[in-house]
């Protein structure tokens, strides 16, 4: 990666409250101190080799840079099994708040599976089993006291293909507030719908046809409508599963701008196949391979100084 196509991560230049030693020992997977020290001095090749060697031994996650700022979601040793077949292997990852975290990796590497553990969407698949601990604001979301239905109101999700309901634009946005009983009066609902559409950058395009069917919108508009639908219930986290893969470049650019704006209010986790997109929209990146989290760190770091050979190979397009 020669060119600098990164958005600077203002949020992360703030006071580094996180303890660096904590970061390298994520989930009990101890990264040898020698490696992080070596990364300061040794050349690229040596550094990569050293890190790769260590991770090959214990399948440990390399933490290039620890996250700064408050942690919204902390995953520890999360494994997912579908019908007994393991799809995700002991993933431990800290996701900071008010930041965009990109999950990258080749197809079938488990990044979407990991995303779906964070709003317990795997519950809806029969034969799926999740182990490990995922804490949101310190609270285990897999705990029996947590109602997945309420959890999903706190953790919104945007899917690969735009999936507006075959209802009016208004009804789509009002769906969440209605089922969760967030508003009582019609006028209040109008306000909620309007502000959600405004925040999703769709208001100007649909203000005069709120009652027409959402199926008549273009793909990019539908995807922004779905984002509006998700933020209408005021979630804390928004999960996005390749939100631009079905869109053209112009619609993609609009969604990316939107993601950057939403970062100020929400914790965003985005799965993407596009390296350029990960570099453009995210401040943190996690690279998955074969169901394991290989490397994580500040996006800039991951793209410029990957410590793992597999990461380097993937982001330079040698596989995946």
């Amino acid at each position: 990666m020669k060119t600098r196509i990164f958005r600077s991560a203002e949020d992360q230049t703030g006071a580094g409250t996180a303890d660096p030693t904590h970061a390298v020992r994520m989930g009990g997977q101890v990264l040898p101190a020698a490696v992080s020290e070596a990364s300061e001095t040794a050349g690229d090749a040596d550094r990569i080799e050293a890190a790769a060697e260590s991770s090959r031994q214990a399948d440990q996650t390399v933490v290039a840079t620890p996250p700064t700022g408050p942690i919204k979601i902390a995953a520890r040793d999360v494994s997912v099994f579908y019908e007994g077949k393991q799809a995700l292997f002991e993933v431990s990852l800290d996701i900071p708040d008010k930041t965009v975290t990109a999950l990258i990796g080749p197809s079938g590497c488990g990044k979407s599976t990991f995303l779906r553990t964070m709003n317990r969407m795997n519950d809806t698949i029969s034969g799926a089993k999740v182990t490990g601990r995922i804490a949101m604001d310190g609270e285990d979301i897999n705990d029996r006291s947590i109602d997945p239905v309420l959890l999903r109101a706190r953790v919104g999700m945007v899917f690969q293909r735009p999936n507006p309901f075959p209802k009016s634009i208004y009804e789509n946005v009002a769906y969440g507030p209605k089922i969760h009983g967030l508003v009582s009066a019609k006028s209040e609902m109008d306000g909620v719908v309007e502000s959600a559409l405004k925040r999703a950058g769709l208001w100007d395009e649909v203000a005069d046809r709120l009652q027409s069917s959402a199926m008549g919108l273009s793909g990019g508009q539908q995807q922004r409508l779905v984002i509006a639908r998700a933020i209408a219930v005021n979630p804390e986290v928004i999960l996005m599963d390749e939100p631009c893969s079905a869109l053209d470049p112009i619609a993609t650019a609009r969604i990316e701008e939107l993601i950057d704006e939403l970062r100020e209010r929400f914790c965003i986790v985005i799965v993407t196949h596009s390296m350029a997109q990960a570099a453009r929209v995210s401040q943190r990146t996690a690279f998955f391979h074969m169901g394991r989290l290989v490397e994580t760190g500040d996006t800039e770091d991951i793209f410029q100084n990957p410590r793992e050979r597999r990461t380097l190979d993937y982001i330079t397009g040698r596989f995946g």
């Binding site: 969407m121 809806t124 029969s126 999903r152 919104g156 309901f165 075959p166 769906y175 209605k178 089922i179």
Partner: protein, 476 residues
């Protein structure tokens, strides 16, 4: 004998295929052939089989009239002098004798001598036709094969020509289905027209009295007959409404259970069971209605009636105490049970066609299963479900057996589900079964009813199809 011809034709076809293939290989020297040898073989095979089949079909269609024509040419004067009805009987007996069966009638002197002569003549005509037809078929096959052989060259596009034949064969098959339907409509329309010449169409469609009995003698009571179809259509509607009240909610809810709630194991057991239920012959449902449900309902209402007699609802009590086995409710309820698997299976397919992404979207918003069903799936599937219900309605309208056995035959103009009613289909059955004079208004009225019913279900089906169609367009 026909088997010999079929064997010959099969042998010829195989020979044509092998020959065509070999010929294509042999003639392909020098030029690169357009089609593969096997395609040339198929081309030759078609040219052998198709003309032969055409000749056989024509022969089976026209051999009977042709035979009659040939017999008529040399009819001896004694036979020709007979009146047409007796002449046909004579020929029929000659035919029978020719096959070695005894004649049905005893014929008088000159005719009795003619009978064996005629029998022999008929046998020979028949034989000539059969052999001639078979030979013609083989000849057509050979000629077709020879033509194909002259055609086989590297340049000809045997592959495309075979494709053309496939197209033609498929077209003919679908044309047969369409033409049959048109034929049915035409025959219905023709006989209905004869009926409407006797009974004005307005009286038929809007008359409120149905009693098709026409007196044999002029002095009998009720000699005129009344052909007002309104009671029949009212009865049909009543029973259909009752059936839909049973089938729509239960069928729909079971479809929702099957497609959204049931686990894979449950689904694997319940779905085939429902389909078995759909395969039970309606006459069995009729049994069930007439022998089980009817008496059960009667006893139920009679008991209520006895309980009410003497109380403030004395009148109602007297009515309920005298309710009979045969009533619209029995037929409607059992028909509803019959339609449950139909409705549930169709609705299940429609619900399954709703994209999974919509469910995911709704769950991800924090909706529960029932909220997702109520607010997303049902609205999305509604047009399709409406179409399924309309299809079920048209089946309910056409259903005959259950109503015949459970609802009675009296054409009452009523919407009381405890009364006996009759439906259009039941009347058609009773009008056309048994000994009937085929020219009376009574019998012809069946065709009038049939045509009206056909129109009604046709409209229902078209509407249902339209609805299902618009629903499909939404997701593709």
């Amino acid at each position: 004998m026909i088997w010999i011809y079929l064997l010959i034709l099969v042998a010829l076809s195989v020979a044509a295929y092998l020959g065509g293939r070999a010929l294509a290989v042999r003639r392909a020297v020098g030029a690169k052939p357009h089609s593969r040898p096997g395609q040339h073989g198929a081309y030759a095979l078609i040219w052998v089989a198709a003309p032969a089949l055409l000749v056989l079909v024509l022969m089976s269609l026209f051999s009977a009239p042709l035979e009659r024509q040939l017999t008529a040419v040399d009819t001896p004067p004694e036979v020709a002098a007979l009146d047409p009805f007796r002449r046909d009987a004579f020929f029929a007996d000659a035919h029978r004798l020719g096959r070695g069966e005894p004649a049905l009638q005893i014929w008088e002197r000159p005719l009795a001598e003619q009978l064996p002569v005629e029998a022999r003549r008929m046998v020979s005509i028949e034989r000539t036709l059969k052999w001639g037809g078979g030979l013609a078929a083989v000849l057509a096959a050979v000629l077709g094969g020879l033509f194909a052989m002259t055609q086989i060259r590297p340049q000809i596009r045997a592959r495309n020509r075979v494709e053309g034949w496939v197209y033609g064969a498929l077209f003919v098959c679908s044309a047969i289905a369409v033409l049959t339907t048109i034929g049915i409509i035409a025959s219905l329309a023709f006989d209905s027209f004869r009926f409407f010449q006797r009974v004005p169409i307005f009286d038929f469609l809007f008359g409120t009295q149905w009693s098709p009995q026409i007196a044999i003698r002029a002095d009998q009571v009720g000699s005129t007959g009344a052909f007002g179809a309104v009671p029949l259509f009212a009865g049909t509607l009543l029973i259909m409404a009752i059936a839909m009240c049973v089938a729509a909610p239960i069928g729909l809810l079971s479809a929702i259970y099957l497609s959204e709630y049931a686990g894979r194991g449950t689904r694997a057991v319940v779905k085939p069971l429902l389909e078995i239920l759909a395969g039970v012959p309606t006459v069995v449902y009729g049994f069930f209605a007439a022998l089980t449900v009817g008496p059960l309902l009667r006893v139920f209402f009679n008991e209520i009636g006895l309980f009410l007699i003497g109380g403030p609802l004395d009148g109602l009590g007297h009515y309920l105490a005298l309710v009979q086995n045969q009533m619209a409710l029995t037929a409607g309820a059992v028909m509803g049970i019959m339609l449950i698997p139909f409705v549930s299976s169709l609705s299940d397919d429609i619900l399954n066609a709703v994209p999974q992404t919509l469910r995911d979207g709704s769950f991800a918003m924090g909706a529960t299963k029932s909220e997702t069903v109520k607010r997303v799936l049902l609205p999305a599937a509604l047009p399709g479900i409406a179409g399924a219900l309309l299809l079920a309605m048209s089946r309910a309208i056409g259903e005959t057996m259950i109503v015949t056995m459970a609802a009675g035959l009296a054409a009452n103009l009523t919407f009381n589900p405890l009364d006996t009613v009759t439906t259009v289909t039941v009347q058609i059955v009773t009008l056309l079964t048994g000994d009937q004079e085929f020219n009376s208004a009574k019998t012809l009225s069946a065709f009038g009813l049939g045509l009206t019913l056909f129109m009604a279900t046709l409209v229902l089906n078209i509407v249902a199809h339209r609805i299902v169609q618009t629903y499909r367009e939404q997701y593709d």
